[in-house]
């Protein structure tokens, strides 16, 4: 497993390199944003540990560049400030996990193992509907190439609608497929989630069929590549 470690502090880098090496990773180290971006762009890493406070280019910008270029390597961000706003901007840029400094080395290793497990075997059996794309293996969706930020309930709703696109699906059917058996089944909540989904994917993709339910269709003028 190849890991890219991006950290500007020399002592911390040395320690992490040792620890990662002991855990069986092949470690490349970058000490600033520019180097990190170059390495991440040219080498096929399995996972990246990215400090946010970096010289030259900051961590969030590096991550954004990678994601714009289509790199899907899982990224764990290290942040010293620990503020949630930093974590949120890291996730918006495409991070998969975060760790707040100072941290225990074992914690970092555990998180990396989890990330690698998650990303293992991503195949592209993607669903699509017009500009909408959904990758069930990675549990990710995008609209017109822009990644969507969905909660798991929203994701499940979209997944179900995409699997049955073009067909009118009743609220009851959606409730049954969205919730576990022990979950509160309230068909009004479907409206809430459809509303939220519309906000994220555009208002016109999910059509309300009065008295019957909902239907997902490509937008007019959108060709369906699937």
């Amino acid at each position: 497993m190849r890991v890219l470690l991006v950290e500007d502090d020399a002592d911390l880098s040395r320690q992490l390199k040792l620890a990662l090496g002991d855990a069986g990773y092949a470690v490349d180290h970058a000490a600033d944003g520019e180097e990190a971006w170059f390495l991440g762009d040219t080498e096929p890493y399995d996972v990246v540990v990215l400090d946010l406070g970096l010289p030259k280019i900051d961590g969030v910008s590096v991550l954004e560049r990678w994601r714009r270029e289509g790199k899907t390597t899982p990224v764990l961000i290290l942040t010293a400030r620990g503020a949630w706003s930093d974590k949120v901007s890291g996730f918006d840029a495409g991070a998969d996990d975060y760790l707040t400094k100072p941290f225990h080395t074992e914690e970092l290793l555990a998180r990396l193992r989890a990330l690698l497990r998650r990303s293992a075997g991503i195949a592209s059996a993607t669903l699509s509907c017009g500009g909408l794309r959904l990758d069930p293996r990675a549990a990710r969706a995008s609209v017109n190439g822009e990644p969507l930020r969905l909660t798991s309930l929203e994701y499940r709703l979209l997944h179900y609608l995409m699997m049955h696109q073009g067909r009118v699906i009743s609220r009851t059917e959606l409730v049954e497929h969205l919730y576990d058996q022990d979950f509160d089944r309230d068909s009004n909540t479907i409206e809430v989630f459809v509303g939220r989904l519309r906000k994220k994917i555009g208002p016109d993709r999910i059509e309300t069929v009065r008295g019957l339910g909902y239907r997902l269709t490509p937008l007019a003028g959108e060709s369906d590549p699937a």
Partner: protein, 482 residues
Amino acid sequence: MTDPVGGSGENEPAPIERDSWGRWFGRPGRSLTRRLIWLASAWIVLALVVAGWALTTQYQETALRRLGNVLSDTIDEVVFASNASPDGVVVAEIKDARTLRALSGKYWAVAEPAPDGSLRTLVRSPSLAGETLMVPDELPERLEAAFGETISYNASGPLRKRLRVAASMKRLPGRDAPLVFMAGIDRSNIDADTRQFATFTWTALLILGAGLVIAVFLQVQIGLRPLFGLRNEIADVRKGKAARIVHSYPLEIQPLAEQVNRLLDQNQETVERQRTHVGNLAHALKTPLSVMLAEAGSQKGELPDLVRRQTEVMKAQVDHHLRRARAAARAHVLGERTPIAEVLDEMAVMLERVFEEKGVEIDWRAPDNLGFRGERQDLQEILGNLMENACKWAQRRVRISAGPTHLGQMVVVVEDDGPGLPAEQREAALERGARMDETTPGSGLGLSIVVELTRAYGGRITLGDSDMGGLKVLLELPAAEA
């Protein structure tokens, strides 16, 4: 500026009293409105009193002058009708009905100065019916001094009526001794007219005055309306409904609005600066702490263990005090409004990804228009820590519901289906620095930060049992009116 963000406690300004009577009456020094109205009213009353006095006086003067003309005419008639001789005077009949009818109210008399200084009546009009016209003591001297001219005075006549009397001393051909010609007329008519005029004038002026005072009142109200508007807008900023003063105001108070905006900017800037300093300090300290922690962790022995333990304490202390400083720097920022649904959404998306292995599902509900009266970063901090905690302890499910309550507050409930927290540990969990989640690494001060931020915003936090089986955290936070 010595302490731009310091000062604890609420500096609540007095509530805005709209249209209360106390604003108009009472000590004028305290209210601009009152001052303007009192000043204008005093001026109006003074001007109207002077005008009323001038008008009534002028009216009376004119009436008396007209009466004086009638009396002069009468004297002239009598003079022409008189035939004087050293022995006496004979006045031919004057064809004026009023001087003939007894006690008609119009009289004349011809008299001569007696040696004792009084006047002796020689001839009198039939209307006098034997009475004499009253003569003031000093009249003969004054007539003599102003020989040939007419002197008017008030007198009491027959039937106790008030008379206007004119007298003139003349010398007639055929007689050396001077004669005094007098004419009198009842003035009750013109007195009544004057009274009526005065009544009418004062009534009209009173109405005019009242009208003017009302007009001033309205003018002040309308004129000062932008000022009230500005005040309400500033109140909105304080309440978190607006971030800045956005309306434009008249020339005179627009600079005030701009200064308020500049003050808001400055406040914001100061807070930002503070936060940047604090953040830099945190960043500067945390990387060395990470190094120490990792180095000590990689070695066995007493010293590494000690270093490791103490580094943990340092980390906790740094976290605690830096966040505390940030919390203090924050709650004072004015005019911020953060939609809670947005923050819940981004947190849910992020935390579900972080806890993907565990398969945690976050179900959140919040009205779209519900806003938190405060900074986005702070709400992220509060909800992030609570939700992260919930995800950490949950088996699978985390539920969050937010809704408005009365009095500009809102309630956020965060629940999970984890093991929950025994009642006796809840108190300790809310205390500063309590680390109940020691068994789950990488956490620590989450809850105490939430407690401090919540308190900084004047909110409340309570722990309880959830019907899902785990912990229920109930937050009360200030809501921003939409």
